[in-house]
């Protein structure tokens, strides 16, 4: 018996929306097998990683705090990817946004004023956008692949943190630790649920996703992004400039990543430290795809990814799983999702072996 892929007349909506669910289920299934095979409690690993964060209400605040930067960055990336602009450097833009916000916080230290936090947020936006402007410039002027430039710039930004926290921005009272001073209270993100770690970034993430959803589904800008992404020739015919769209897509995804960086540094971190890069920018790539490049889907995908982060930490302490376990689960999820996506456009068809036709 042979199978063949046959193109569907219309892309299947059922598969389109069920693929993420199937990918999660397959990840759990194969995750259990793999971890059993290498000598861990596979079923327990899946339970701790995927279920404990949901069933244990103490973990919910962790989920919200982990999910919000993923959602904000994921929303930006989902827009860029719709335009066929492959911004892989959200991690770098997130770092630059965090650094820009830090710069404002340090500069205004001791000044006081309600405007400091908003100024940090704006700096985060601009820092991320400016960093994404570099790949945009090279892409539109010299046709340099944005995947390479944006990814490589990430490593440059990490070095920039190391330099800044070790020399010019080093906390004078920090006993030699490579970190900035703790931000003044005016530069800290307020907590919105007393007694928890849930900060203002959580509702902001939801609002960002809702606004992005509206813009992408209803506005001419959203239309432009989608046309340029799926048929650049038709976009030109329709009067949309490809270069302009590349700029907008990179600036917007960079700005949102930078904004997430500003929220993180002023929220959970409260200062800039060398450990600031936590791979949110890379994980958000999976979030964008898992959310079907749809801002509303990104909310759910962000939560699922946050579950694997939080669950990974739980599994480390309860069943001694290595910390890289959650990375393996996340990668498997992306792998199964992309593999499943082929069935959106194609269906599996059984074909008779060649020999029979000769009879």
């Amino acid at each position: 018996m042979q199978f063949r892929l046959e193109k569907r007349r219309e892309p299947s909506r059922v598969v389109l929306y069920s693929a993420p669910l199937i990918a999660v289920l397959l990840t759990m299934f194969f995750g259990a097998i793999i971890f059993s095979a290498i000598g861990y409690d596979g079923v327990g690993a899946v339970r701790e990683i995927f279920l404990t964060p949901i069933t244990n209400s103490l973990k919910w605040q962790d989920l919200a705090v982990k999910a919000s930067p993923l959602i904000i960055i994921g929303v930006g990336l989902s827009i860029a990817y719709r335009a066929n602009v492959w911004n892989i450097g959200a991690e770098g833009q997130y770092i630059m946004g965090g650094l820009a916000a830090t710069w404002v916080a340090l500069l205004t230290h001791g000044m006081g004023g309600f405007w400091i936090l908003p100024a940090m947020m704006v700096a985060g936006f601009l820092g991320g956008a400016a960093y994404a402007a570099i790949p945009a410039f090279f892409k539109t002027r010299l046709n340099v692949n944005e995947i390479l430039t944006s990814l490589m710039l990430t490593y440059a930004s990490v070095q920039l943190i190391y330099y800044l926290v070790r020399a010019p921005w080093k906390d004078p009272m920090g006993m030699g630790f490579p970190q900035t001073r703790r931000f003044a209270s005016e530069a800290l993100l307020p907590n919105i649920v007393p007694g928890t770690i849930v900060h203002a970034g959580v509702p902001i993430a939801i609002i960002v996703a809702l606004v992005a959803w509206f813009v992408m589904s209803r506005s001419v800008f959203g239309y432009q992004v989608k046309v340029v992404g799926s048929a650049p020739h038709a976009a030109r015919y329709g009067g949309f400039s490809e270069n302009k769209t590349i700029w907008l897509a990179l600036l917007l995804s960079g700005a949102l990543a930078g904004f997430a960086g500003a929220l993180e540094v002023s929220g959970p971190f409260q200062r800039m430290v060398p450990g600031f890069p936590t791979n949110y920018g890379f994980t958000a790539i999976i979030v964008a795809f898992l959310g079907r490049l749809n801002p509303l889907g990104v909310i759910f995908a962000g939560i699922i990814m946050a579950i694997t982060f939080v669950g990974g930490e739980v599994a480390q302490t309860t069943i001694g799983l290595p910390s890289s376990a959650s990375g393996i689960f996340q990668s498997m999820m992306l792998f199964f999702l992309l593999a499943g996506d082929i069935l959106v456009r194609y269906r599996l068809k059984r074909v008779a072996p060649q020999g029979e036709a000769r009879a």
Binding site: R218, S219, S230
Partner: protein, 504 residues
């Protein structure tokens, strides 16, 4: 003498469509047999089964009286069946000889092969130098390679799939001479086409297919083009209603010494093109494919802007520097040749495709937001007025057949009532019924006072449709003259231009 080829009860089912339904006919030795039908009538499927590319689900193929199974094209060639495809499979960087050698089933020493090629070419009057590189050859010459390749096998049946769609009238005449000579020597020819006057001129018998079924087998010389067309589409054919002796208004679209830059691949740029189209006038631009038509359309639509503002003007206003959106606002709409991915986005719904070009002229955008209700309503109107076969405005463009998508695209532009419309290949790959509807819509639009430019390779279409005609060759446009003043021979000479084909 038994029939060379006899089909009885051939049936082929594809998912959702019966491509051939109990088709039976016979081809006699030395007969030129036309296989006629609209797009999707099942001609290609039938021929693929004869040539062994596909297998029938039911029915029998008899070859010289013997029932046979043709498992693959190699077996077909062994029987003596040759085929010349519509799309050539040639390596541009190799010579004629090398291309033919690559396509041979048996390995023949190149000296011997060259001798045989020269012999075949001498016998049939096919002028071609075996040592020329394919890239330097015209389309007509490339087709000769394919014919020579088929003739080297001494075929008893030669299948020709739409052979004339890319040829100038002179090249067509040369081809017919070769085919008649072959037939006189006893080789049967199965000639697939939808060009009725060619079939009348060339063929002894015509088998007409419609919707996978055999409708009629007739003698084309006894039929009129019209009667055959009606059998093909299954209903009365509407004539283009074109008022005679129309007068034209003031110049609407004026193109003055328009040149484009070479894009560095495939297409030829246009050089110093000038023409004027008046209100109510249809200007036809004829030419063999790849002579600058795409560059001309891009330059007119605004996809490629000109440095010279006055190279193109509408009603005296220079629009050379404007992009497509601005040009549409000034009344110029355009339809490029490529439907999927250029004139329409296959992944998008028809409604979203309407937003692509009609958003400004029909008020589908309010303060940066898309009014999807307006897009749906307009799309519904296009579907109704142009009889587009689609489930509704929410169907994706990619799910429509080529002809229906073209009707939708033409409707989308025409219902915007542009004052200037530029279209390329408006009925390419579209069945006769749909083509007639599109032609009538263009004529009606002109009658309402619009200026229209039709770029096409189909001379019949241009002669029926256009008021004035110009010919594009190697990026240069001949002077436009009333279409009645041209003879087919003259158009052919202009189309052949510097290829030097006409003299051959």
């Amino acid at each position: 003498m038994p029939n060379r080829l006899e089909l009885s009860g051939i049936t082929k089912q594809f998912p959702g469509v019966l491509a051939n339904d109990n088709v039976s006919f016979a081809v006699k030795p030395g007969e030129i047999h036309a296989l006629l039908g609209e797009n999707g009538a099942g001609k290609s499927t039938l021929v693929k089964m004869i040539y062994g590319i596909m297998q029938p689900d039911a029915g029998e193929i008899r070859w010289n009286g013997e029932p046979v199974v043709v498992p693959n094209p190699k077996a077909a060639r062994k029987f003596g069946i040759g085929m010349v495809f519509q799309h050539f499979s040639l390596f541009e960087a190799l010579t004629v000889l090398e291309n033919i050698a690559l396509g041979m089933d048996a390995k023949v020493p190149s000296r011997e092969l060259e001798a045989r090629i020269r012999e075949v070419m001498a016998t049939y009057g096919l002028a071609l130098d075996p040592h020329r590189t394919v890239a330097t050859l015209s389309v007509g010459e490339r087709q000769r390679i394919e014919i020579v390749r088929a003739l080297l096998l001494n075929p008893q049946l030669l299948i020709m799939d739409e052979p004339t769609s890319v040829l100038t009238p002179q090249e067509v005449e040369q081809l017919f001479t070769v085919l008649r000579k072959l037939a006189a020597e006893g080789c049967s020819i199965l000639y697939i086409s939808h060009k009725l006057h060619e079939i009348k001129a060339l063929c002894d018998v015509a088998t007409i297919l419609r919707g996978g079924k055999l409708v009629d087998t007739c003698d084309p010389k006894q039929e009129t083009s019209r009667s055959m067309a009606e059998k093909m589409i299954g209903s009365g054919l509407k004539d283009i209603v074109k008022p005679e002796g129309r007068s034209f208004g003031t110049p609407k679209l004026v193109v003055n010494r328009l040149s484009t830059l070479s894009t560095g691949h495939f297409d030829i740029p246009v050089r110093n093109v000038s023409f004027t189209v008046r209100a109510g006038e249809i200007l036809g631009i004829a030419g063999v494919a790849g002579n600058g038509q795409n560059a001309l359309l891009d330059a007119l639509s605004g996809e490629v802007r000109s440095d010279d503002r006055d190279a193109i003007s509408i009603d005296g206003l220079g629009i050379g520097g404007m992009d497509t959106t601005e040009r549409r606002r000034h009344g110029l709409c355009a339809v490029p040749e490529e439907r999927n991915g250029h004139a329409a986005v296959g992944d998008f719904s028809l409604s979203d495709n309407s937003v692509l070009t009609a958003r400004d002229r029909l008020g589908m955008v309010v303060m940066g937001l898309i009014n999807s209700g307006a897009a749906r309503t307009y799309t519904g109107r296009v579907i109704a007025d142009f009889a587009v076969k689609a489930l509704g405005p929410a169907s994706t463009a990619g799910s429509l057949s080529g002809g229906n998508l073209q009707k939708y695209i033409m409707g989308r532009e025409i219902l915007q009532k542009p004052s200037v419309l530029v279209v390329s290949q408006p009925t390419w790959g579209v069945d006769a019924g749909a083509a007639a509807a599109i032609h009538q819509a263009l004529v009606d639009l002109a009658a309402a006072g619009s200026a229209i430019v039709v770029i096409s390779q189909d001379l019949d279409e241009l002669r029926a449709l256009a008021d004035t005609l110009a010919v594009i060759n190697m990026g240069e446009l001949s002077a436009a003259r009333p279409v009645k003043d041209f003879s087919v021979e003259e158009i052919g000479l202009l189309m052949g231009g510097v290829h030097g084909e006409a003299a051959a």
